[in-house]
């Protein structure tokens, strides 16, 4: 029942946002209808668009969306999925480039595992700074995003650069380090299956295990978790940081071994940031992330086709995403949707339709966090410092 309502809300809000886009394009004197048709064609319009664009694009969004959702539900404001994703991508590239002879057919599995581990490690830095020094993770994870971005920039011009030393990117990975196709002739790879499986697993863990229950309790009320539940809050948040980082790192490793095959600076068009919108729209529900990840994957895939077919800049998709978030906040404010959304939107808890044991939440505790826009082009950075 609450499910139906949530789906209806997201659908309504999506229609509103697309309507606003259509109107704005009309006012700008563009062929708005053609643009929306192109958006559809490029996302769901054909089997090829669906499998090779939308689902491919949705894969990292689902995984990073899960990373954000689980973190926010524990009151861990991990804005660093982007950096963790980049770390995962970079280490997966290193494994593929240097360790393929050693691992042979297992290389791709090792690359994914190492990528997840690296993402967890990157998140651990923020967790350590929070637990040991009280540094707000909002600030530290954003800082770490930039450090990761520059580290990748260095790697692709240094140790991992292709042999001719002309382009700032790595060599393509050997075939053994690449994820196999899920459907021959499409770009869809097995990483999508990983994402689709990960969502219900995260959902199940949060709902049916003691560890997941601790995560939810700490997110909802860390003080009660500690005093009434005798939960080790620091240990729980540390675990959440690690799992969240691992999911984002896995997203990066999958993107590298399944889509780009080579490491370069712009390997992520801001997946880790979009993930925040994906998770929010899903009400921080892991199963919902599956749906909203798909929605955002379709939007971003369609935006590229919109740019090709109707000369509408693909960045407008950011506007649509932002409108989705703002509208959902507004709707939750006035209608009091799910408990989580209502709290994030400020209308408090109360009479929510959430069924029993899964009334979990977003984290009223630690506040003070962020989300960046698109990652800056390195050129601008050089300019900035110059």
């Amino acid at each position: 029942m609450s499910w139906l309502r949530r789906v209806a809300t997201v659908a309504l809000v999506s229609l509103l946002a697309l309507g606003a886009l259509w109107l704005a394009l009309r006012l700008a004197g563009l062929d708005a209808t053609r643009a929306l048709v192109a958006l559809w064609d490029g996302s769901f319009g054909s089997g090829y668009a669906l499998t090779s664009s939308t689902l491919v694009r949705a894969t990292p969004l689902i995984l990073t969306g899960l990373a954000v959702a689980i973190a926010f539900r524990a009151g861990v404001w991990n804005i660093g999925a982007e950096g963790q994703l980049l770390t995962g991508a970079a280490t997966a590239a290193a494994v593929g480039l240097f360790a393929t002879p050693a691992f042979g057919a297992l290389t791709v599995v090792v690359a994914l595992a190492v990528g997840a581990l690296a993402g967890a490690l990157w998140a651990w830095i923020a967790a350590y700074l929070r637990n040991r020094f009280g540094v707000l993770e909002v600030i530290s994870t954003i800082m770490l995003n930039f450090v990761a971005l520059y580290a990748v920039g260095y790697l692709v011009r240094g140790p991992l650069q292709e042999p001719t030393h002309i382009y700032p990117q790595s060599e393509p990975l050997p075939v053994l380090a690449q994820l196999p196709r899920l459907i021959e002739g499409s770009r869809l790879h097995w990483g999508f299956v990983v994402a689709v499986v990960a969502a219900p697993v995260v959902w199940w863990v949060l709902r049916y295990t003691a560890a997941g229950f601790r995560v939810r309790a700490v997110g909802q009320n860390p003080s009660a978790a500690r005093v009434a539940g005798m939960v080790d809050v620091q240990r729980t948040t540390m675990g959440v940081f690690l799992v969240s980082g691992a999911l984002a790192g896995l997203a990066g490793a999958i993107e590298l071994t399944g889509v780009t095959f080579a490491l370069y600076e712009n390997v992520s068009p801001g997946y880790g940031y979009t993930a925040i919108a994906v998770a929010l729209l899903a009400g921080l529900d892991p199963l919902g992330v599956l749906a909203t990840g798909l929605l955002f994957g379709a939007l971003e895939a369609g935006a590229l086709s919109m740019q090709r077919e109707a000369a509408v800049p693909a960045v407008v998709v950011n506007v649509v995403e932002a409108l989705l978030v703002l509208l959902i906040l507004a709707v939750a404010r006035w209608r009091g949707g799910s408990a989580i959304l209502a709290r994030l939107a400020g209308s408090g808890s109360g009479a929510s339709g959430d069924d029993s044991t899964k009334a979990g939440g977003g984290g009223a505790a630690g506040r003070g966090k962020a989300r960046p826009g698109a990652p800056p082009a390195s050129g601008t950075h050089a300019e900035a410092a110059g």
Binding site: V135, S140, V317, V319, V320, R367, G368, A370, A374
Partner: protein, 301 residues
Amino acid sequence: MMGGAEEFLAAAVRTGTPLALAALGETVVERAGVINIGLEGIVLAGAFGGLLAAGSGLVAGFAGAVVAGVVVAALFALFAVSMRADQIITGVAVNLLVVGLTGALYRGIYGATGAALTIPTTGTLPIPLLSRIPLAGPALFDQAPPTYMAYCVAPLLAWWLYRTRSGLALRAVGERPDAARAAGVAPASVRWMAILIGGVLGGVGGGMLVLSQAGTFAEGMSAGRGFIAIAIVALGRWHPLGVLAAALLFGAASALQFLFQAMGWALPYQLFLALPYVLTLLALAGLAGRRAVAPAALGQP
């Protein structure tokens, strides 16, 4: 060597100024108990607003930057204050919106490739006498006008926050809104005002990127400065003068590459780009126990 040091200091101040302006605005916002992650979007909007209005002159350019910054700030305040939505989420959405809007408008107005248009900049305005102090003179007093604005704004804000009753009221809102309410202060109004001030200063900070430094606009040109400014506020311990110093320190870390180049050291430039972020993390860790300094109600709707 001398030239290198001078250039280093000048670059430190130049790089630090936009950060200082944005961070000073955010200081006011956070003192009122609001964390505005949308600052990144405000800076970017300021840069774009500056570009749009620059055709009518530099003053108009800065006015455009301020208007753009304030509009974005108002959108944030509408959700984060009036609707009491989560501040982080709202900030994230605002940033996304500005990235998309400026990107689309820029391409729409100036062409798909984003023609390499160049507009005149303010240049530097040396202050008589002061700018002739050896070493520090040119670095501090041969700068673009917004730099001098930052010099003035910091002590002015400090005076306001600590030596006026309205400043007292603003800090009370950031510490304990119900206490402020009991004293007859309306927390929502105070927060709105603080956020708009943050919009003005963030807008100017963004505007000067275009109007005083680059002379052009690039998509995503704020390049994380809004986020860095938020970190700088914490580094400066939420005090305007501390924040100004922290911003210049951050500028210095960014400008280290000039010093090193002058000394003939060849290191990967990404190292220098990453350095300020790493230093910020270390500094924040070094300020352990600083939670006591942060406004107690920071981030609470």
